[in-house]
């Protein structure tokens, strides 16, 4: 068995004195899709922010426990930016940067010193295709990213995350602003991307998790209730709470 690509050990997060995440542990093998489900405000986004250490930008936030990326504690990675470049993040609120669409996607590669125009062109096109946005914007790549519609901006955010060629792609409710047809298209793309990266999919849509995830973790009220292979969780949950949530009885 291959070692876990990403592993969380007793991870806790505090905001001031409020505990947002309580001793969560799980692991994801390489090229797997982990679905994280749970009601709003249960600490899912905080979990993602600890993985790429953007939680450090929040005042009064504090973590305990370890996050291992390829067996390496992310807290010990000397260059935090290199860590963030290995992890693609898509958060629920679509954010188009006030740059052209092209510059939005080329933003991260440029920060890493890629200025070769043909290389950037290819990269931008690939990422926009993967995010199912290329056909809509290919003729107006110099339009401001902020002028796109909400759904388009969300896909632009996805394209930006893909521009990092990340090892791990974290998606937090990516489909919230996107119509069902486009969502299905993106899901197809994600299944293809699985060949190249590990995907962590935070979602409210339990069916989406069931369709895509190899394993599912259920988080409720800051705690990891249960974690296991998707079908096992959906068919024979060990905890009653899990079954009730996955069947839509609360949340």
């Amino acid at each position: 068995m291959s070692p876990a690509h990403l592993e969380l050990r007793d991870l806790s997060v505090w905001y001031g004195s409020k505990k947002a995440l309580d001793e969560v542990s799980f692991s994801v093998p390489r090229h797997h899709v982990l679905g994280i489900v749970g009601p709003a405000n249960s600490g899912k986004s905080s979990l993602l922010k600890t993985i790429n250490r953007t939680l450090e930008f929040i005042d009064h936030a504090r973590t305990e426990g370890t996050v291992l990326l390829d067996g390496e504690n992310v807290r010990d990675i000397p260059n935090v930016y290199s860590l963030r470049r290995r992890i693609g993040m898509v958060f629920p609120l679509p954010v188009g940067l006030p740059l052209s669409i092209y510059d939005n996607v080329a933003y991260a590669p440029r920060r890493m010193g890629i200025h070769h125009k043909p290389q950037l062109d290819a990269l931008v096109e690939n990422c926009l295709r993967d995010a199912v946005l290329w056909d809509e914007v290919k003729d107006r790549l110099d339009l401001l990213g902020t002028k796109l519609s909400g759904g388009q901006q969300q896909r632009l955010t996805l394209a930006r995350a893909l521009s990092l060629e990340p090892e791990i792609l974290c998606l937090d409710e990516f489909s919230i602003a996107i119509d069902p047809v486009t969502t299905m298209k993106i899901e197809e793309v994600l299944m293809r991307l699985k060949e190249r990266m590990t995907i962590i999919l935070v979602t409210n849509l339990t069916q989406q998790a069931r369709r895509m995830a190899d394993a599912v973790a259920f988080i409720n009220a800051s705690q990891l209730v249960e974690w296991g292979p998707t079908e096992q969780l959906f068919n024979q949950p060990a905890k009653e709470l899990t079954g009730r949530y996955l069947n839509g009885e609360f949340g």
């Binding site: 790429n52 930008f57 006030p98 740059l99 930006r160």
Partner: protein, 302 residues
């Protein structure tokens, strides 16, 4: 028969409406009554200055204690003083604003910095003059001159630029920063590529206001080497750069201060002339700031 139509206002409601109208017109009257005298004063200054105004007045040397000649020396002094002040205060002030808004953690020390900024803004200009004398001249042993005067002005204008920079930065949504951080951009890269370009106009407005402020101030420079008269080379590059960094200098505001006092034989138009030049210079600079702000409001990028 009392009408039951609820859409016809009752006597009480009419009375209320009358009072509202009264309030509206009286506050308008007060506002207009405030602005009309100011407009009159400005017009009067312009009219009385008119006989003195000419190209020769702007480019001529000060002579007979300002009673004759022109204001070239003071004009150049104000120009270089402002330039120097800007060169000192703009980088420090902008970076300080960036620190407070983008870097400073939310703790007691940061709040102390904020208190310091507001306190600094409230320090009277004459106390800045004392500080300049004590710190730069007496303690550091620097000569009274253009540089020390500009440094004193910089201390005075620092809070202006910090405050306007902070405001400009806060107009850039937090989302943009988070998006960049998630892409592996550092704080500084985020600031340089996204935050500063999109708050540029607001910061520029602050910088322009500092120029206006520095050009008009008198108290902080009057003991820092601003003098009544200096000989200025009649031609050549020295005419355009008449003062060295450590030289005494003439400045328009101080010039006006000195000739405002009763000097026998001082023609009225000479006084009003320098007042008008100083005033129009500063209103012009402020006008540029307003234009920048107006353009900014039109051009929405998100």
């Amino acid at each position: 028969m009392s009408s039951a139509n609820p859409f016809i206002p009752s006597a009480y409601e009419l009375d209320k409406e009358k009072r509202a109208q009264l309030a509206r017109w009286s506050t308008l009257a007060v506002t207009v009554a405030l602005l009309i005298p100011v407009a009159l004063i400005l017009t009067l200054i312009a009219l009385k200055a008119q006989p003195a105004l000419s190209w020769e007045y702007l480019t001529g040397d000060v002579s007979r204690s300002g009673a004759a000649g022109g204001i070239w020396g003071p004009l150049m002094g104000t120009f270089y003083l402002t330039l120097l002040c800007l060169a000192i205060v703009a980088p420090i002030g902008i970076l300080a604003g960036v620190y407070i808004h983008e870097y400073a953690p939310d703790n007691a020390f940061t709040r102390a910095i904020m208190v310091a900024v507001t306190s600094l803004a409230g320090v009277p200009s004459i106390v800045h003059a004392l500080f300049g004398l004590g710190a730069f001249v007496a303690t550091l042993g620097m000569p009274k001159g253009l540089l020390t005067a500009a440094m004193t002005l910089s201390v005075m204008t620092l809070p202006v630029i910090i405050t306007s920079t902070r405001e400009a930065l806060s107009s850039v949504p937090k989302n943009f920063r988070e998006a960049c951080w998630n892409l592996g951009a550092s704080r500084w890269q985020t600031i340089r590529t996204i935050v500063l370009p999109n708050s540029f106009g607001g910061i520029l407005t602050g910088v322009i206001l500092v120029i206006a402020r520095a050009a008009g101030e008198t108290a902080p420079i009057m003991f820092m080497g601003a003098v009544m008269w200096l000989r200025i080379a009649p031609a050549g590059p020295e005419r355009l750069m008449p003062y060295g960094l450590n030289d005494e200098f003439m400045a328009l505001s101080n010039h006006l201060n000195l000739i405002s006092k009763d000097i026998p034989g001082m023609p009225e138009e000479m006084k009003f002339g320098s007042a008008l030049v100083l005033l129009s210079l500063i209103l012009f600079i402020n006008g540029i700031a307003s234009l920048v702000r107006l353009r900014l409001r039109r051009r929405k990028r998100w």
